[in-house]
């Protein structure tokens, strides 16, 4: 946790932009360079920055480790379900439920955009957890210290 007030203020100014940039890269992965992994890394970096600047108690209050873990697992499962559905439906010759849309618009590309978002969530949470484990050895310090 950083005490320097300059760093804290700059971070509070900067964080929303970092996060919006990450989300933008995730959402527009099928239209511009980027995609789930790149966007997820940026989002994860913003979470790591938040934790290092504001300390583990504040972060654990905002992002509970168990919920984050569940979110990552649910994202992975959703990914598997969507992809499994696509693979099986391709084998059985079904038509796609959502079409490909108009190329060039945000809501196009079939399942590519949701998949990018899911990968991004998994990557962000994983990177956040890895950094926290490296730094503190556990990710529930706020709970154990009490």
């Amino acid at each position: 946790m950083m005490k320097s007030s300059i760093v804290r203020h700059i971070t509070s100014l900067l964080l929303p932009f970092v996060q919006i940039f990450g989300i933008y890269i995730m959402l527009f992965g099928h239209l511009s360079p980027g995609g789930g992994f790149a966007g997820g890394s940026i989002l994860g970096a913003s979470l790591i920055l938040f934790r290092f600047i504001y300390g583990s108690e504040a972060t654990d209050a905002k992002f509970k480790a168990t919920y984050m873990m569940r979110l990552a697992l649910v994202s992975l499962m959703m990914y598997g379900l969507i992809k499994g559905y696509v693979f099986v439906s391709a084998f059985l010759g079904w038509h796609s439920v959502i079409g490909t849309g108009t190329p060039g618009t945000l809501l196009s590309g079939g399942f590519i955009m949701p998949l990018n978002v899911l990968v991004g969530l998994v990557v962000a949470i994983t990177f956040y957890f890895i950094a926290v484990l490296f730094e503190e050895g556990d990710f529930n310090n706020a709970n154990t210290r009490q």
Binding site: A72, Y79, F139, T144
Partner: protein, 95 residues
């Protein structure tokens, strides 16, 4: 001694690989065998097949989506492994 041995090994290795490099098609040439019908199909049909205009995205998430699914599980595997190694036992949520 060890340094000498390592240098010789590395130089031999680099030499071997350079033998292969000599036979490789020139960088940036249009007519090399890699830029074949598979690439043409990706470029021409990616937009109509998948609706994405970023062809790399179309490849990794639609044409070769299975790779990317496995890749997501690589990250997950690494997370679980790191948790095994570094997570302190007996923490709050493990009871």
């Amino acid at each position: 001694m060890k340094a000498l041995l390592a240098s010789i090994l590395t130089l031999t290795f680099i030499g071997f690989l350079l033998l292969a490099i000599v036979e490789m098609p020139a960088v940036g040439s249009d007519s090399s065998i890699m830029h074949n019908v598979v690439m043409d199909k990706y470029i021409e049909d990616a937009m109509t097949d998948t609706g994405a205009i970023n062809i790399v995205s179309a490849i990794i998430l639609d044409y070769r989506a299975f790779d990317t699914f496995v890749e997501a599980s690589v990250i997950f595997t690494a997370l679980i492994c790191i948790m095994i190694v570094l997570k302190r036992s007996g923490s709050h949520d493990e009871k």
